[in-house]
Symmetry: C2
Subunit: 191 residues, 2 copies
């Protein structure tokens, strides 16, 4: 999607360790009208799939998921990263490693909010090794819901997650797919 | 605001320790079209104040802030709760105690995203002791930006935060103000 690719070229910053920093418009400051346009594109791609619920993971997925959910008119459920004092103990859990943070955590979704009648679209900011998607898929399937697929803003296609998950049959729609990322620039895989 | 009060009475759950659980429509599952209507109400109340930026705190503030930001057409900045490997070291920080979680953390906003020309509206889900608002105010003022005020979904008016902050001159617009909360029910302060 040209709109996102151009914005990444303009405002994205490459940091050591294959980190692409998009803090200026997605991950710390959120350009709300812009991200809403990305949400509209997810809607265009998934509007005929009967989505009843959008699933994401805190924290940076939440804004994107909400601005996408508005186009679909469906609720967003966000997986939480640790057990808090006011969450039900009756939860689905999965273990997720974070590429960016170098940590491992449990993600949690209350069983109240996913059911076998749900048709779930996963939304997230990045896809690299696919760890978050694997965890969110595990939670979706544990609930008995139908997994429609995943909408991703930025896929690091030079890492293995997207290929692995597509080979396993997951439908993944990434709005920008990065072929390579070096100090001299970013190249994208064309649609 | 009747819309929110009625929803709290219908779907809110009171837990031990004065915790009001609104996980079904705000804090874990987000009823996106509903929260967008709450955002419209914030817009109605602050539309003449020249807001240039909405400031909130991860995680549960993000969805509300984004769905409010869409009405204003301005970016959202969310304060992060800990230093991560891909955030700038050039940050504003404040220390915040969490009523719900019983923890203390540092919240962080990159200096890139707040400037003296900004007019900041703080958005958050709950106001109880006011710790998060104090931290977000501290960060806003450190940046030299103008603080317009705060839009809160649910104020626990039987706790001290709202009174303290209003006495200090902060404009706070709470969409539902809880006068009392017991096992037998919730009563609101009427506008």
């Amino acid at each position: 999607m040209k709109l996102l690719e151009e914005r990444i070229l303009k405002d994205g910053k490459i940091k050591p360790g294959n980190v692409l920093k998009v803090d200026g418009f997605i991950n710390h400051q959120i350009d709300v009208p812009f991200v809403s346009e990305l949400g509209r594109e997810f809607y265009r791609r998934f509007k005929d799939d009967g989505v009843t619920k959008i699933l994401t993971i805190e924290a940076s997925g939440i804004g994107i998921a909400c601005l996408t959910g508005l186009h679909f008119g469906v609720p967003v459920v966000f997986a939480k990263k640790s057990r808090t004092s006011n969450i039900s103990t009756d939860v689905y859990t999965a273990r997720v490693d974070s590429f960016t943070h170098g940590t491992t955590c449990d993600i949690i979704v209350s069983k109240e909010f996913l059911s076998p009648s749900d048709r779930v679209l996963i939304i997230d900011d990045f896809l690299a090794l696919g760890n978050a998607l694997v965890g969110l898929r595990e939670i979706t399937l544990a609930s008995g819901a139908t997994l429609i697929g995943a909408g991703i803003l930025i896929e690091k296609a030079f890492q293995s997650g997207g290929r692995m998950l597509r080979e396993q049959g997951m439908r993944i729609e990434s709005l920008a797919r990065i072929a390579s990322m070096t100090d001299t620039g970013i190249t994208f895989i064309e649609d």
